[in-house]
Amino acid sequence: MDLLSNSVVDFLDNYIYYIGAFGLVFIGLLIILIKRNLIKVIIGLSILETGVNLFLISVGYIKQGTAPIFSKPGLDSAIMVDPVPQALVLTAIVIGVAILALALSMAIRLYRHYGTLNLRKIKEQRW
């Protein structure tokens, strides 16, 4: 019993960020695939993007690591987390904002044109 709980803790310790990140990705994908309201699809897109960002950040994470900032002398550089994924995610967040804004403007135009946000009722958007 003790061994089992130990291995479970070990497993969670190693993979909890991956589980969380891909959980968010799959929730987002599922929303995109099954929801009919365009606004909800855009929300799903946003959740998916959050999951991908979390995944990238957690790839660069070190156990008990600190932020890669030398804010005071004497900080150990060996336990600093990888700065490259963080810079990448900074880029990804900004691009995500751009995508969100464009998608929302498209949604506004679609609503103006068809009078509905239900993707089932818009012929060109049905699948």
Binding site: Y15, S58, P68, S71, K72, V97, M106
Partner: protein, 229 residues
């Protein structure tokens, strides 16, 4: 039927990802390039925040592309929404916000702007930087749109600030090209790390990015709110 197909598809994708991720070690090693940045970043750029030195100095050209993407998205949003603006008949009268919201937004607006400026000026020393500070400044303008609509900024002004921010970025990069032979060369002295006036061109570029991002996001918010009226 659709739901079953979707879930099946997701299960297949999940299996593939799990099989490939199990062999990737987690929370252990940094990449070699990340180690290099941590070991030599402060010496080479003078910025104590390594993420900032990666974003603005080592990968400054990527950041120029990123800023361009944001700019294109803001322009595209304006273009997509612009055609319907003309056909709008009479403008609806906006009901003014209540006294509490009005006073609160007038009280909080300068404080949020101050915090945003702090974050974007100290980008090379502490967590934060141009993108984060710009987003905070834009959030102050969201408050203006919610609380006291008649005090909103003129859109021409945000366009001018946005253009100046972009131009400063490119001109600083071109000066580096003229002096040292490559774009975005850090031609100013690095200075003493952990002081405000250090890290050469990094604070200049990040302040320019901050103003650009702040005014761009304000423009996006303005477009979306105008449309929903």
């Amino acid at each position: 039927m659709r739901i079953i197909i979707s879930i099946l598809l997701l299960v297949i994708i999940a299996l593939g990802i799990t099989l490939s991720l199990v062999i990737i070690p987690f929370n252990e090693s940094t990449t070699q390039v990340g180690e290099y940045y941590i070991d030599n970043g402060v010496e080479e750029t003078g910025a104590t925040n390594i993420v900032t030195s990666v974003v603005v100095n080592y990968r400054g050209f990527d950041t120029l592309g990123e800023v361009t993407i944001l700019f294109i998205a803001a322009v595209g949003l304006g273009a997509v929404l612009a055609t319907s603006k003309k056909s709008k008949a009479g403008k609806k009268k906006i009901e003014p916000a209540s006294l509490v919201v009005y006073t609160g937004c007038r009280f909080l607006f300068p404080l949020i702007i101050l915090f945003g400026l702090y974050v974007l000026i100290h980008g090379h020393l502490s967590p934060g930087g141009g993108f984060q500070g710009g987003a905070i400044i834009a959030s102050a303008f969201v408050l203006i749109y919610m609380g006291c609509r008649e005090k909103r900024p003129a859109m021409v002004l945000t366009k001018v600030i946005e253009s100046i921010g972009g131009l400063v970025f490119i001109i600083v990069g071109l000066i580096g090209l003229g002096i040292g032979g490559y774009f975005l060369l850090n031609f100013l002295p690095g200075g003493v790390p952990n002081t405000l006036l250090s890290a050469g061109i990094i604070p200049i570029i990040y302040i320019a990015i901050g103003f650009k991002v702040g005014s761009e996001l304000t423009g996006v918010i303005d477009n979306l709110i105008e449309e929903s009226e």
